[in-house]
């Protein structure tokens, strides 16, 4: 029994320490964002983290939009609600599926890349070299990545939203026999701009957490090649968990 409570206690302490350290890193990063960022680094990170993720985001949202329409179209037609299909897809993609799926894809692709790069820099003493040369690793490495993620995850989400809605249209028109006019008219009737903008706010928050967790896990990577792998896995898993939890709270706040 003592062992059980001991393990639970140690787990809770470790978890609280982890959360505390991430929050402190986030606070320090936000503090350093007040200074003018190194725009060259921000743009190169945006190209690296954002543009390269377009194909996988497109593919994910295309098939998600298609399969979702496939599942709902039959039922909606049965109840004579085919005129709402486009709106339902647009709202679902804009509010939830777009930001969450893009967040998960970015956590896997971008978060892991950030962690692998920073943990390798740590293992090879490059982070120490930055500090020795009077350069803050937070300002030099984390701030540009955070700005890039906070800007590019929403951009990817807009792209994903469009592709997801187009995927829905493909199935609605090509498979379920709904007219194209009805699909687009339904979107303009039921969906509002806030469905999309709220999703973009979520995407920016997810981008912030993907960057800070990716950087944190990289900076805390255990020594050696195995450490890089461990840190990368930890970063992706943490970011995905945080995205799902944050998504719930953000939905409660943004769409009450």
């Amino acid at each position: 029994m003592e062992d059980f409570f001991g393990s639970v206690g140690r787990f809770v302490i470790r978890w609280l320490q982890y959360v505390g350290e991430v929050v402190l890193l986030l606070a320090e990063t936000l503090k350093q964002m007040r200074r003018p960022p190194r725009m060259r680094h921000v743009f190169s990170q945006m190209a690296h983290l954002g543009a390269d993720s377009l194909p996988i985001v497109g593919l994910t949202l295309l098939f998600t939009g298609m399969v979702m329409t496939l599942q709902i179209a039959h039922e909606f037609i049965r109840f004579g609600a085919q005129s709402t299909i486009g709106g339902v897809i647009a709202i679902a993609v804009g509010r939830e599926l777009g930001p969450v799926l893009v967040g998960v894809v970015a956590a896997g692709r971008v978060g892991s890349a950030i962690t692998a790069e920073i943990s390798t820099m740590k293992v090879t003493e490059q982070i120490d070299a930055l500090r020795v040369m009077a350069t803050s690793p937070i300002g030099y490495l984390i701030v540009p990545r955070m700005i890039a993620c906070m800007a590019m995850v929403p951009v990817l989400t807009i792209f994903g939203d469009v592709i997801g809605i187009l995927g829905g249209w493909l199935i609605a028109v090509g498979w379920s026999g709904i007219s194209s006019y009805l699909y687009w008219n339904s979107i303009t009737t039921f969906a509002v701009v806030h469905d999309i903008t709220g999703g973009l706010v979520k995407a920016a928050v997810f981008g912030m957490f993907i960057a800070v967790l990716g950087c944190y896990c990289g900076l805390k990577a255990p020594a050696g090649a195995e450490g890089v792998g461990v840190a990368t896995t930890r970063s992706v898993v943490s970011a995905i968990i945080v995205i799902f939890i944050m998504n719930c709270f953000l939905s409660l706040i943004l769409y009450k």
């Binding site: 490059q126 120490d128 070299a129 500090r131 020795v132 040369m133 009077a134 350069t135």
Partner: protein, 251 residues
């Protein structure tokens, strides 16, 4: 000038350094020697402010650095350079960009002047044509030399060398040793060289300090260090690792 007073460092319950104190004069080269795990690299990290001691004072050029925050430490670090054990070159940048890193971060020098400094520092370390190469194209010895050029670029008054001879063949070790001496002569820089190699220490240093289980057990001029009678120093001088000596005695 660097001065350490009663410096202790512990990681959790493990005491790594105990009551360490010494002084390195301006323009002097001090070698810190000791076996693996004796605390040499930890001591070096404390002197450059990468870690903080558990207690004690560390003075660098008249500033006590243990109580400074990171921004204040950065001011002090601008007068220091470091050559890392594995060079720690930024592998996404060319050699020239590595050397120019500090200048681009902390000065408003025009690009022309920065290029001149890159050329001058690379020439000083014997690599005048390496500016456009990537770190991945360099041998271990060349990386060490680029690391030294990067450390020198900002014109520091103190340079720390962390195991400058590790992973190098004897010929390259000798060359790096000669480079440490010629750099000191050319720039008058104060140097602290951490090494486990007695030959390197004797070759480059004015004085040698020996760490054993976290304590300084000897600090002598190079010429008198070899004559010390302390059995732990004798073991090291005979080329035995301290741990192996202990094992032999235990048997």
């Amino acid at each position: 000038m660097i001065e350490l007073k009663h410096v202790d460092k512990s990681f959790g319950h493990k005491e790594v350094l105990r009551d360490v104190g010494f002084r390195v004069e301006d323009g002097e080269t001090l070698a810190l020697i000791g076996g693996s795990g004796s605390g040499k690299s930890t001591l070096l990290r404390l002197m450059i402010g990468l870690d903080r001691p558990t207690s004690g004072e560390i003075w660098v050029n008249g500033t006590e650095i243990t109580q400074l925050d990171e921004e204040e430490l950065d001011e002090v670090r601008l007068s220091m350079g470091m050559v890392f054990q594995y060079s720690a070159l930024f592998d996404s940048m060319t050699v020239g960009d590595n050397v120019a890193f500090g200048l681009r971060e902390h000065t408003d020098y025009p690009e022309e002047k920065i290029r001149e400094i890159i050329k001058e520092k690379l020439k000083l370390v014997g690599l005048p044509d390496a500016a456009d190469m990537m770190p991945g194209e360099l041998s271990g010895g060349m990386k060490k030399r680029v690391s030294l050029a990067r450390a020198l670029a900002f014109g520091p008054s103190i340079i720390f060398y962390d195991e400058p001879d590790s992973g190098l063949d004897p010929v390259m070790t000798k060359k790096i040793g000669e480079l440490i001496i010629s750099t000191q002569k050319a720039t008058g820089v104060t140097s602290v060289v951490v090494t486990h190699d007695m030959e390197t220490a004797c070759f480059v240093a004015d004085r040698i300090a020996m760490l054993y289980e976290g304590e300084i057990i000897a600090l002598e001029k190079t010429e008198t260090f070899r004559r010390l009678r302390d059995p732990r120093v004798r073991d090291f001088l005979r080329g035995f690792a301290i741990e192996e000596g202990d094992l032999a005695r235990d048997k």
